[in-house]
Structure formats: C-alpha cells, structure tokens
C-alpha cells in the first residue's frame, strides 16, 4: 500500500471531485448553502455534523438523486451537476444509503451482478463477469450467503451487500452513508476494516458517520457541516480540538 501523503503536497490535478457553492433549498430550509467541497484522489474523507446538518443532502446532490439549485460539481474535471443518477454511477461515483436499500427478494449474487451489468460503461463477457462478481463477494465477505435473498440477511450483511453492489459498478469514488449505524461493536470493527481495504484498492471514499471512533481512526481528513454550511475542515486531530465543532456538538 502506498503511503498517504500530507495535505499540503496534493496538486490541483489530484482532486477527483470539486464542488463549488453547492446550494439546495427545500422550501425555506437551506439543506446546503454554498458548500465548497474538494475530494482528493485516494483519500478517505469523513463528513460529520449534527442531525439535519445536510450531510445526506450533500450525498444526494453529488450522486444525482437531487439536482442542485446552484453550484458546480466537477468529477475528474467534468461537470456532472444535473446528470441523472445512473449516468453519474457509470462515470464512477457509487453510493450506499442511510437506511439500507437492498432488493429484498433478489439473491445476493444478483445484486452484485446488477451493479456489474448496469453500473459500468464497458462490461466484460459471461466468464469475466462471473469471476469479478465472485471476487467482489469474497472481498466483502458475502460469498457464503451468495444465494440468500437480500431481505433474509442480517443488517450487517445487508450493509455489506450495499457496499458490494456499489463496488460492482467499479467506482472511483464511493459515498458511504452511515455504514456503522445500527451495528454491534464487533460488526463495526469489521466494517471499519472493510472501509480501509476498499481504500487500499485505490477507491476514494467519502463517508458520513456518527461514530466518532470510526471517523477519527479511518479518515485522512474531516469536514464538519452544520445547518447546511461547512463550519470546519481538517485532519482528525485538528477537528477533535476545534472549538466550533465542540460547541456545535455539545451545544445541541
């Protein structure tokens, strides 16, 4: 594994995603107002903030689930704001959901197959597809339940399944929305291990998380949102000692 570089030496060309002045209003509520966001290639970026801070809205904007009212989103240098979810997925941004959205009556292996068949611009033939689907199932640790239906899995495995389906689209950038929520401590440790392994494969990750231990130990950098605005940005150490952040969290 390559050693992660410090913040300072990343050049402009190392940014995989750049969002400027992202704004989204729901009626009078500003779910995102003027958020600037840079994601560097290969990093694991944490997104934290109190409930209703606009974290999931930000994911929805980046993944095309919602069109922004204002702002620019550049992915690998190309403007993707306003593209449909499937178009963004095929360009290399995959996501998971805060409340798991698996296909409850579909087999585990078919979930991955679906991501493989539809989430890429180019797909390989039958054998190659089978091999890669198997490889992904092994990677996330679902190979033993490949024929079970999505709805019959326990929560931890449903979360793995969402990750597997997302990985099958061969993303360059993976958005993980509260992967740890609802997991037992053991499962959480496994999930953290999985996130690290995905990062080592060269996939850039942005993760929304409430579990501070996970965020502080995995992430290279953290962004803090509050009421639709970015209020802090920095390394885990910087964030842990940031006064505004502590106020926002403890003051709520």
């Amino acid at each position: 594994m390559e050693e992660k570089c410090g913040d300072g030496i990343f050049g402009e060309n190392m940014k995989i995603l750049e969002a400027e002045r992202l704004t989204k209003h729901f009626g009078g509520l500003a779910a995102a107002s003027g958020v600037d966001l840079d994601v560097k290639e290969g990093e694991i970026l944490g997104l934290i903030g109190p409930n209703g801070a606009g974290k999931t809205t930000l994911f929805n904007l980046l993944s095309g689930a919602l069109p922004p009212d204002l702002g620019v989103i550049r992915f690998k240098g190309q403007d993707i704001a306003g593209l449909k979810p499937h178009q963004i997925t095929r360009r290399g941004i995959a996501r998971t959901f805060q409340s798991v959205k698996i296909f409850s009556r579909m087999s585990v292996v078919d979930h991955v197959r679906l991501g493989y068949l539809f989430g890429r611009i180019e797909t390989g033939g039958g054998d190659e597809a089978d091999r890669e689907v198997e490889e992904i199932l092994e990677f996330v640790g679902l190979a033993s339940v490949r024929n079970a239906r999505g709805g019959d899995l326990i929560l931890a495995n449903q979360k793995r399944l969402e990750v597997a389906r997302a990985l099958a689209t061969r993303p360059a950038l993976l958005l993980l929305d509260e992967l740890m929520a609802g997991l037992t401590p053991t499962e959480m440790a496994e999930a953290m291990e999985l996130v690290k392994k995905i990062g080592e494969r060269g996939v850039t990750i942005v993760m929304i998380e409430h579990v501070m231990k996970a965020i502080l130990s995995i992430c290279d950098r953290i962004i803090v949102l509050n009421q639709g605005m970015k209020i802090a940005e920095g390394t885990p150490e910087e964030i842990a000692g940031n006064k505004t952040v502590i106020e926002v969290y403890l003051g709520e």
Partner: protein
C-alpha cells in the same frame, strides 16, 4: 434456482399445450374454437400485463387503451393489408403510444400512475370518437373478417410470442433491472440502471402484444365502435386475472386467465342475472383465502411434494 429437471418438465408441458392447441380446430366444434380464442385473448392480455406490472409493481389500467388501439388499427387496415401485417402494425402502434406515454408519465408512482392509465383509456377512446364524428362522419365500422380458424391460429401465434418474450425478459439483464426497479427504484438508479428507459421500453413491449391481440380480435367481432374496442373491461380483467393467478411464474397468469375466463363463460351462461354478483363474491374469497392466487396454492403444494419426496429418499 431451477433444476434442469423442472425446466425440462415445463418445456414438455409447453410442447404438449402447443400440440393440443394446434389440433383444436380439427376435432372441436366451432363454438369451442371461438371460446378458446377468447380465452387466449385474455391469456395474452394478462401475460403482457404481467411483463411490466409483475416485476415493477406498477398497476396499469391502460390495457384497454392499447388493446383498442390495435382493434382500430386493424379496422382501418384489414381491407387493404394481409393479416400478419395488420397484426404487427396494430402491435407497433400500441408500442409507440405506450412508449411515448410511458416516457412522460412513468415518473408517477402508485395510485397516481394507476389513475393516469385509467384516464388514458378515456382519452384515447374519446379522441377516436371525436375523430369519427367530426372527420369521418360515422361512428363504428364493419370489418372484412377472416374466418374463425385463421383468427384462432393468429391468437395461438401471439400467445406463443408473448410467452417466449416474457421468458427471455425474465432471464435477461433487462429482467434483472426490472426486478430491481420493483424493489427499490432509487437503489436501481444508483446502481446504473436507466430506470425511466427500462420502464418505458417494458411498458411498450407489453403494449405491443395487447395491440396485436386487439388487431386480431377486431376481425372476430365484425362490427366495432370506440365503446366496444376500448371497453374498460379489457383494463380490469387482466388485473383481476393476474391477482387470481399470480405473477411470479410464467404459468401463473396463464392459469389465472384460463380459469377466470372459463368461470366467466360458465357464469354468464348459467346465471345471466347474477353472474356479476357471484363473480364479486368469488373474487373476495380469492383475495381473502388465496392472497397469492392460484400460484400461491400451487407453489405450496409443490413444496410439500418436494419435501415429502426428499424425506423418503
């Protein structure tokens, strides 16, 4: 997972069914031929309905619009073109209509989509009516008929095609996408499925066969007008038959439509005054006691047979 043996079994059943059907006009009365044509029409409507609504769960009441479009395409063309061409044009017209309408309206979900499709039938019917009154000056028209045997074989052909297409869709990546859409549209979209296009194309494919069935039945009826061609029963019957049969396996809509239309035939001839009442009661009983339809009963029975036999060995 299907075992090879099971697959082989369904294949044999299908060939037998086809052989029986092909022989029907040879050894059955013309009443039976007409009756079976009628049943096949409902089977085709129900199977086509299930292509789209089965996996996606979108309840469409637009079947009558596509069926009627086929009827009218045939009414306008059957004097000048050969039967197979008329049937294909009837199907293609419905396909186009469904694709356009689907692209615009398949964003609607649940009840809103159902209401819209219901309205579509009225819209097409009234537009045609207006056109007939104001442009052609006549309402209704006579059709140069093909004989009953020809119509019967045409319907068998359409039935086999819709069955084949349903099977291929189920097995293809397209079928996988449809299943995903039915379970979570959002997740399917974020896995790379072009949800709007997949829905519109499937809706159109299902409409193709409804239109083809309409184009064929139009010749059987001799006289048609917008009210008979776009009768709302062609929208409701496929839904009821699919509820009655189920939509999980291919045999389910076939069984549902067959039993249901036989029942209708029986009740209308034996109890002409009460048949709607009896029908309603039967439907209530089905929903109460067989929530998954005939399919639910058959699959339960199958499972018990399988576990029973595996205990023995």
């Amino acid at each position: 997972m299907k075992t090879p043996g099971k697959k082989y079994g369904s294949f044999i059943a299908l060939i037998t069914l086809l052989a029986l059907l092909v022989g029907v006009p040879g050894y059955m009365s013309s009443y039976t031929v007409i009756l079976i044509t009628n049943i096949l029409m409902y089977v085709v409507l129900t199977l086509s309905w299930a292509i789209f609504s089965g996996p996606t769960g979108y309840i469409s009441l637009a079947s009558a619009a596509f069926f009627g479009t086929g009827v009218y395409a045939s009414a306008l063309l059957s004097s000048s073109l050969p039967l197979p061409v008329v049937i294909v044009i009837g199907g293609a017209t419905s396909f186009t209509l469904a694709f356009l309408v689907g692209s615009l309206t398949l964003r609607l979900k649940g009840m809103y989509f159902t209401m819209f499709t219901f309205g579509l039938v009225e819209l097409v019917r009234n537009s045609l009516h207006w056109w007939e009154v104001n442009m052609t000056g006549t309402v209704g028209r006579l059709i140069i008929t093909a004989d009953n045997t020809t119509i019967f074989y045409a319907m068998v052909g359409i039935f086999m095609s819709v069955l084949l297409v349903s099977y291929l869709i189920k097995r293809s990546r397209f079928g996988l996408a449809l299943q995903g859409i039915g379970e979570s549209e959002e997740a399917a979209a974020h896995s790379g499925v072009n949800v709007t296009r997949v829905k519109a194309v499937t809706f159109a494919v299902s409409a193709f066969f409804m239109g083809a069935a309409g184009a064929t039945m139009s010749m059987r009826w001799t006289y048609i007008d917008p009210t008979t061609a776009f009768s709302i029963q062609f929208s409701f019957m496929p839904v009821l038959m699919a509820i009655f049969g189920g939509t999980g396996h291919l045999y389910a809509p076939i069984a549902g439509a067959t039993v249901f239309s036989l029942l209708e035939e029986l009740l209308t001839t034996k109890f002409p005054y009460y048949y709607m009442l009896i029908f309603g009661l039967i439907m209530l009983a089905v929903i109460r006691f067989m929530p998954r339809g005939l399919e639910g009963v058959i699959e339960k029975w199958r499972k018990s047979v399988e576990t029973g036999s595996s205990v023995k060995t």
